[in-house]
Symmetry: C2
Subunit: 484 residues, 2 copies
């Protein structure tokens, strides 16, 4: 396929493409500033086909991401909220030599050149070779996600992945001439990055928010400045709380796309009362965004369901128990084409051609899917995926700790939060404050367990020896009930 | 991708899928009757992977086409208007052994079993193996089209071709929840067949017309029963003429997709006056429907243009003359995957990976494309493509005829019609009536030249010896001006 940005600049030069930081750009203008940034990048880029990006949802980051894509570089989108050792591990895995970053990013990372967007914007630029075609199997973006082993894997997403993901979405949500997608979720996540790609494929504008401000977004929506928004439940709850009782969003605002965790019934009811159309959806980095979605018209009848697999997605549930609960596996052209440097792990994530999502769920008589939990016990906390094994691995470095298990417990604000059950070595002990401080040095804040309790029994295990984490959730809750 | 019909029956079981012959079917119901027809077909089908279909736009034909597709058979969609020798040639090329046909079709075709839809509907049925997946590269439909050599070529269209074609269309026209596509163009043509495929891909209903009745269609549109219609210009003109002066289509009728030839300025003006949104488009059997389209907002400023290449289509113009006129070549995932049994011709239709459309055109400063004429001198007559070489080849069989050249001349009703310039052998002669009668026996009526004139000069030729047909158009017109 022809270069998407170039194609839209050809097809719809005067169509709005981006609204950010009180500026707005048509596709022709966006192409112009992106090409300029590509030329500036050519002044500093070495031959490494991968370039790291550390950015907030700022205009300069948006443009730089597109510029690297235009140059055919693989974008390694690093999570802006990670701690230094986490970032350095991913930089090492991706063999990055250069990173472009927003001006406020302060960490010095080992073995890489770091360039701020401001620095780039001052450069004169050099001739740049722009991709003529976006080839279906060419990797354009890499995002890290953790699996059950704990060490993050770099998910390789191709142009074809993003294209089919956008097609699945358009066949579900439709496409109107005045569509405008609001991006308040991070563009270094698939949730935000997929909005950027849809904009290029559909030829519609993105309204970019540099941080989540419920009041500002409500003001924009009430003024008719947006038709679709992607949100995690906690964001949507804040918007509902902020929305004045006597006001309603206009009909042009047609859809809230809610992902990243279950939605509370009270939220669903509130949105219905206020006439807001919600599409709940399920997806992962490996599927380049949504693959299952629940339409608004089914939301009331199918409470708790994530919906049905989108058009280009097939789904099956294997190893079902007597009640139909089993492992969700999918087949779709938007399944990522590889894990960075881990061909074996990629192979292992398929079962006879079906991608193992790692989630457990079941399907009702009408084909609606309900997700029960993550096989790998991932904790979904405020839209971020937290993997217990990764946290445990960090803490096991402490000499005082013999073992630790992290589990997710329900939380009214974040959906779920990690808590830790700790076994200390004989005669050793650390306070909760010590444990928390150590975590904050080593991990992103959202990964640091919200609570630590001492645990002295043997871990509950399956017949085959695997720790039964779900039982530890109950044990943790029992411990907390006891008078201390 | 999962079987499209099955997918929609899963995703939207209660969504309307088809309205035909005063009946209507949801996707769940359509799947049911299609599977039943597939089972009935299993009672009679031999092992030939190709099955011929001869049908009007009737419900039974629609269902039988889908049933054959469900069985993974290659549909050979024969033009219901062809004469017996033409059909037999195509049957021979496709090595067909069986044909399913509407009840009114009367010709006895050599070497094939013929089954009417009524006959099929009486059968008990046998177990049928339904396609689980529609694989991107699997050929599902074959339609014949003539090239410059005259003998029709079977164009092999894959599921991927139809999918990408539908994607190009949705990215141009958008998709609304209440969309309903009106099919008054033949379903054995790519124009109608592509509507069937879009219905399966988008999950929207088709309103099928067994024949074109401008008044009936207007009545439906005025009553809000349709949002998009595909038409050739002559049909649209009839609808405009029939539309009462004091009435206007409702806003829910959002688009006329006009293809198959140039649109008259008076038609464009009339549609603007009456508030009708037209998308002019260009496509061919080999591109599985539209690849270039002109949006309504550009129609007035870009009169005569077919627009810009759709999202998944790249276009280039090669061998341009001093004024920029050259050969249109395209690259797109919806280019047909082959010509039946003619791998060499298929190869020859590409120029370094670019498909040679055979059309001559130019592009203005803003990228809008204007088509000047067909390199192969195809005559587009009332939505049917007429190829001079095919007609000439038939006539050259007559002992009285030494040579004949057929050219297209403008016609107020059909856009263009074929006329013939004839050289008789010395002392031989045939009357216009004789020539016409012979043509009617051998060719579809629309291919029979509307006029025959004797021509005794040498044919005008290019330096390399090719006949300059465009000069013969002028010569024909001069002959007609002379007092006879």
């Amino acid at each position: 396929m022809e270069n998407w940005l170039h194609k839209q600049a050809d097809l719809k030069p005067n169509q709005l493409a981006l609204i950010a930081e009180n500026k707005q750009y048509t596709f022709a203008q966006l192409e112009q500033i992106v090409i300029k940034r590509a030329q500036q990048l050519m002044t500093i880029l070495d031959d490494n086909r991968r370039v790291g990006v550390l950015t907030t949802n700022c205009l300069a980051g948006y443009v730089t991401i597109l510029a690297l894509q235009q140059l055919g570089r693989q974008l390694v989108l690093l999570n802006r909220r990670l701690a230094k050792p986490e970032l350095e591990d991913q930089i090492d895995q991706a063999q990055l030599t250069q990173i472009v970053q927003d001006d406020a990013f302060e960490l010095d990372l080992s073995n890489t050149q770091q360039f701020t967007f401001h620095y780039l914007s001052q450069l004169a630029g050099q001739p740049a070779e722009i991709l003529a075609d976006f080839k279906e199997d060419q990797v354009t973006s890499i995002m890290f996600t953790s699996g059950t082993t704990g060490r993050p894997k770099g998910v390789e997403q191709s142009f074809g992945n993003h294209f089919y993901s956008a097609m699945g979405s358009v066949l579900n949500l439709g496409l109107l001439p005045d569509d405008c997608w609001l991006a308040a979720v991070p563009i270094f996540h698939i949730s935000g990055f997929s909005i950027m790609m849809r904009s290029l494929i559909y030829g519609i504008p993105v309204r970019l928010y540099d941080h989540f401000d419920a009041h500002q977004i409500n003001a924009d929506l009430l003024a008719g400045r947006g038709s679709i928004i992607s949100l995690v439940p906690v964001m949507f709850e804040k918007m509902l709380a902020d929305l004045p009782r006597n006001q309603a969003y206009p009909a042009s605002f047609r859809q809230v796309l809610l992902g990243g965790g279950p939605v509370k019934q009270v939220t669903l009811v509130a949105s219905q009362t206020r006439g807001i159309s919600i599409t709940q959806c399920y997806g992962m980095t490996e599927t380049a965004s949504q693959i299952i979605a629940l339409n608004p018209k089914d939301a009331a009848a199918k409470l708790g369901s994530v919906g049905k697999p989108l058009f280009p997605v097939s789904l099956r549930i294997v190893q079902q128990d007597s009640e139909g609960l089993g492992q969700l596996e999918v087949k779709a052209p938007n399944i990522a084409v590889g894990y960075l440097n881990q061909a074996d792990k990629y192979q292992a994530s398929f079962d006879d051609g079906w991608f193992k999502t790692g989630d457990l769920g079941w399907q009702d008589d009408e084909g609606f899917i309900y997700i029960k939990g993550r096989q790998g016990d991932m904790i979904s906390s405020g839209g971020e995926n937290v993997f217990p094994q990764e946290i445990e691995a960090v803490y096991r470095h402490l000499p005082e700790i013999e073992d630790m298990v992290v589990v997710g417990v329900p939380d009214t604000q974040w959906g779920s939060v990690p808590v830790a059950l700790v076994k200390f070595k004989s005669d050793a002990f650390l306070s909760v404050a010590d444990l928390r401080n150590y975590g904050r040095e080593q991990l992103a804040h959202y990964k640091v367990p919200h609570d630590f309790v001492e645990y002295s029994n043997d871990w509950p295990r399956t017949a085959s020896g695997k720790i039964q984490r779900y039982r530890l959730v109950t044990e943790y809750q029992n411990i907390k009930k006891r008078p201390s």
